[in-house]
């Protein structure tokens, strides 16, 4: 570690962390704040990660970009687009401009997760600033790498409870040569059945959604393949502008469904799970694997509903106070406790944000 040459913003972050650790005072890590609503309630002195920013390395032929935590997502996406590449997990921006560090710490993915994979599938490496102010490099910039435990991916979705992510390397992909969206008027059970049957066929489907009697299917890939699939699947072709706006509104949750008052629940279930027995208004994504329910549903009943479908429920936002995530099985919780106590013995990083009490 060449401390003398270290970036001043990074030095500042290290000192804030080391001071907090010495004093035992909690920190609340934050990028642009686009996901302040997300996760459990967390108290602590604000540690703004935005000052440490900038793209460190990007070689289009290597399909990887390395950026400091505070780099705005918009900057990363613009740079990639100049080389006809993109972040295939389509991280949601929620109407703002999140930092890349926040994108990875939250680990959320957009509509293409169904086909391309989740944020964690694209994380190749990460640098962790731990409670001692050390910078630990995990993973790297290459796609295949099995040296050491996969801590880079453990950090993805950790909501900062193990330490601060200061730099990430993310796999990127070429932009699809063409995209087209089809609309079909069908009820939820038919949509779920179709999404799952299509998922088992070699079709270039990159996203699906259903809400209020309307299903949408996005096709991505070689023009010939998209043309052939369009003929086969039927439905109305959306104009390009409307299609881009639709998927953007689902990705960022600016779609009217997400603007309803009251609580919003996110149920993650197997794609083939039967239609949920609920009267709540629903929006279905990811081929049936993600089911959003709007309305002030009783928490216990909603969690039971998800569990009996083989998944879990997350109280996304709105509605009454209370815990957001489902509880962990005791043996799994114990592993979380031990990890937290090893990586952050004094409990300074985002206490309770991912798991109550940790």
């Amino acid at each position: 570690m060449h401390v003398a040459r270290m970036d001043a913003a990074l030095q500042e972050l290290r000192h804030r962390v080391m001071d907090a650790d010495a004093a035992g005072t909690p920190l609340r890590l934050r990028g642009a704040g686009t996901k302040d609503f997300y996760g459990e309630h967390c108290e602590g002195a604000l540690l703004d990660m935005r000052a440490y920013h900038g793209v460190v390395d990007y070689e289009p032929s290597e399909l990887v970009i390395t950026a400091r935590c505070g780099t705005p997502l918009s900057q990363v996406e613009r740079l990639l687009a100049q080389h006809q590449q993109f972040l295939a997990f389509e991280p949601p921006a929620f109407g703002g401009d999140p930092t890349i560090g926040g994108v990875i710490a939250a680990g959320l993915s957009g509509p293409r997760r169904f086909q391309a994979g989740a944020a964690r599938d694209f994380v190749l490496g990460a640098v962790l600033l731990n409670a001692r102010g050390e910078l630990l490099h995990f993973g790297g910039k290459v796609i295949k790498n099995v040296a050491g435990f996969d801590l880079a991916r453990l950090l993805c979705g950790s909501l900062g409870i193990l330490g601060a992510i200061t730099e990430v390397s993310i796999k990127v992909l070429p932009l699809p040569r063409t995209e087209q969206t089809l609309g079909l008027e069908i009820a939820a059970p038919e949509a779920l059945s179709l999404f799952n049957r299509w998922g088992g066929q070699p079709l270039p489907i990159s996203a699906t959604a259903w809400n209020a009697g309307q299903a949408w299917v996005r096709l991505s890939g070689a023009p010939s393949a998209v043309r052939a699939a369009r003929t086969r699947l039927g439905g109305e072709v959306l104009d390009d502008t409307g299609a881009v706006a639709l998927w953007r509104s689902l990705r960022d949750q600016t779609h009217p469904f997400f603007r309803q008052p009251g609580a919003l629940w996110r149920l993650s279930v197997p794609s083939s799970a039967a239609p949920l027995a609920t009267s709540a208004s629903q929006l279905i994504e990811w081929g049936g694997a993600l089911r959003w329910c709007a309305g002030d549903m009783p928490a216990d009943a909603t969690r039971d509903l998800a569990r009996s479908a083989g998944g879990s429920a997350l109280h996304w936002r709105g509605g009454a106070n209370g815990s957001r995530f489902d509880t962990l099985a005791p043996a799994v919780l114990e592993i979380h406790r031990r990890l937290k106590s090893r990586f952050d013995p004094r409990g300074i990083f985002n206490p309770g944000r991912l798991v109550a009490g940790l």
């Binding site: 032929s61 290597e62 995990f138 910039k141 290459v142 040296a147 801590l151 083989g310």
Partner: protein, 506 residues
């Protein structure tokens, strides 16, 4: 530089060096026989010998005992007993690993998962297969074929290697450029920790609350938990696959063509490279029709709908021509496609035919450094007086140089070992890694000291201790102790970092 130890007493995790305890064998065997039927516990020397090494046979050790449980209940009982008696446990799948990850512990139990060999369920609608860890990789695709589905990761050893072993190593294969590694194709795991507790990570839903312990467990080389069930993702079989085979008279040009294909926005389903030494070795063996005058050949596979494949093959041919390919052939039938691949898939056995022994390396580098690496390997061949044939998963920069040596000639294994360590060190210097898909095992412990700082290794031990507080699961593998690295004496190299990391460079 500050060095953290995360307050871990590393010595507890390195009992691999502990003295064998033959005197403990009767007592431990008796304790385990009280829990399992007699044929599930092997204790005679002649029964133990077949288990003394995995696919990397230069590292051998006879275990104290071999245990073959048949059910999860039996397995949990074994773990509880080993925990009580403080006996190390080393899990073993099919024994095809190439890094000594399943090499037994002299004073430990070798836990074979061979009897966990059932495919429990195939769900064609959800596109998943629930299997036990001892199921062979290829058996999953065979069982799913009836539904037009398959399991994408295809390590070269797929006819023999087990899913449990694939999970332990995060195995890849020739198609992972497009379809991902084991990590990307496992939805959930069920496993047991050393205290005999069953835990479930991930599952049929795509997200689960808490930390991503599923990702952490994949590739953990048997150090964190023993897997008893795996939920695999199945994907639709593409309608068509075709391979483009190109010859190059210069390995540098071939390396540049690889980077150019990716830069052109093409992700082939496989992108492999073999140098002349490799093609000359395999051609008499498989008669694949390789161009033996070429310095290197590239194999690029395209899959998808017939329309898609036609477009992509044409695009690949254009790039290859622009980068100096001296000959190009496209497979005209499925038989020809398999013939083109047969040489690549048989490169390891071919090495065994032309040399008494070979040592397979597994580093990964940024793909635009392939030419640099090949030239460096040529110089190392001179330096160590040993030949090396090169087969690469070029599309993802994963190298498998096969160092040719004769273990019966004094000093050759030591030279091969140093040759390999040099290649791995160069991988780290070029911004890559010491292992792409074979794992660290016992083989690459020293090279881990080059890739990771003491504080990073301490973080790995912290993870180990969170899952396995007594340090009994596969101790002494995958992560070297501070003492071992001090003894090895090579400097830790920051991952390809250049002197002025603060300067943007792209």
């Amino acid at each position: 530089m500050s060095v953290s130890d995360f307050d871990v007493d590393e010595s507890r995790f390195s009992v691999v060096d502990a003295a064998p305890a033959p005197e403990r064998r009767p007592a431990v065997a008796a304790a385990l026989r009280a829990l399992l039927p007699a044929d599930c516990v092997l204790s005679r020397d002649e029964e133990l010998r077949p288990y003394e090494c995995d696919g990397l046979s230069v590292f051998r050790q006879q275990p104290m005992l071999v245990v073959l449980p048949r059910t999860e209940a039996e397995l949990r009982a074994v773990l509880r007993e080993c925990n009580r008696l403080q006996v190390p446990v080393v899990a073993r799948g099919a024994g095809t690993g190439l890094s000594g990850g399943a090499m037994p512990h002299a004073a430990g139990v070798l836990l074979s998962l061979a009897r966990f060999n059932r495919i429990l369920d195939i769900d064609p609608l959800a596109r998943t297969a629930r299997v036990q860890p001892g199921v062979r990789n290829l058996a999953v695709s065979e069982a799913a074929a009836a539904y037009g589905l398959y399991y994408a990761p295809d390590p070269s050893s797929q006819i023999a290697c087990s899913i449990g072993g694939n999970v332990a190593e995060n195995s890849g294969g020739v198609h992972c450029l497009k379809y991902g590694l084991t990590l990307h194709n496992v939805l959930g795991l069920r496993g047991c920790t050393i205290d005999g507790e069953a835990i479930e990570l991930g599952g049929g839903a795509l997200d689960a609350p808490g930390l991503d312990l599923l990702a952490l467990s994949i590739g953990s080389e048997g150090l964190l938990l023993i897997v008893t069930e795996v939920l695999l993702k199945l994907v639709p079989k593409p309608a068509l696959a075709q391979v483009v085979m190109a010859s190059f008279d210069d390995v540098g040009n071939a390396g540049e063509a690889v980077a150019a294909i990716i830069a052109a926005g093409i992700i082939p389903s496989g992108l492999e490279m073999m140098d002349r030494k490799a093609t000359v070795a395999v051609e008499p063996f498989v008669k694949a029709g390789y161009d033996l005058n070429a310095a290197a050949i590239l194999l690029a596979e395209s899959d998808g709908t017939p329309e898609e494949v036609a477009e992509e093959v044409a695009a690949i041919e254009r790039v290859l021509q622009a980068h100096g390919a001296t000959a190009i052939a496209v497979s005209a039938s499925e038989a020809e496609r398999l013939r083109f691949w047969s040489g690549r898939k048989n490169a390891f056995p071919a090495a065994g035919r032309i040399s008494p022994d070979y040592y397979c390396m597994d580093g990964t580098i940024p793909r635009n450094r392939l030419g640099h690496m090949l030239k460096a390997i040529e110089q190392m061949e001179q330096k160590y007086g040993l030949g090396c044939m090169n087969v690469f998963h070029a599309g993802d920069g994963n190298l498998h140089p096969l160092i040719l040596f004769d273990a019966n000639t004094a000093g050759e294994w030591e030279r091969a070992d140093r040759f390999g360590a040099d290649i791995l060190e160069l991988c780290v210097q070029l911004g890559g890694t010491i292992t792409g898909e074979h794992g660290v095992g016992v083989e690459k412990l020293n090279s881990m000291c080059v890739q990771f700082s003491a504080a990073e290794r301490a973080a790995f031990f912290a993870v180990k201790r969170a899952f396995d507080p007594p340090g009994l699961l596969n101790p002494g593998k995958a992560i070297p102790t501070l003492a071992r690295c001090a003894e090895y004496g090579r400097m830790h190299v920051r991952h390809g970092q250049l002197p002025h990391p603060e300067l943007p460079r792209f």
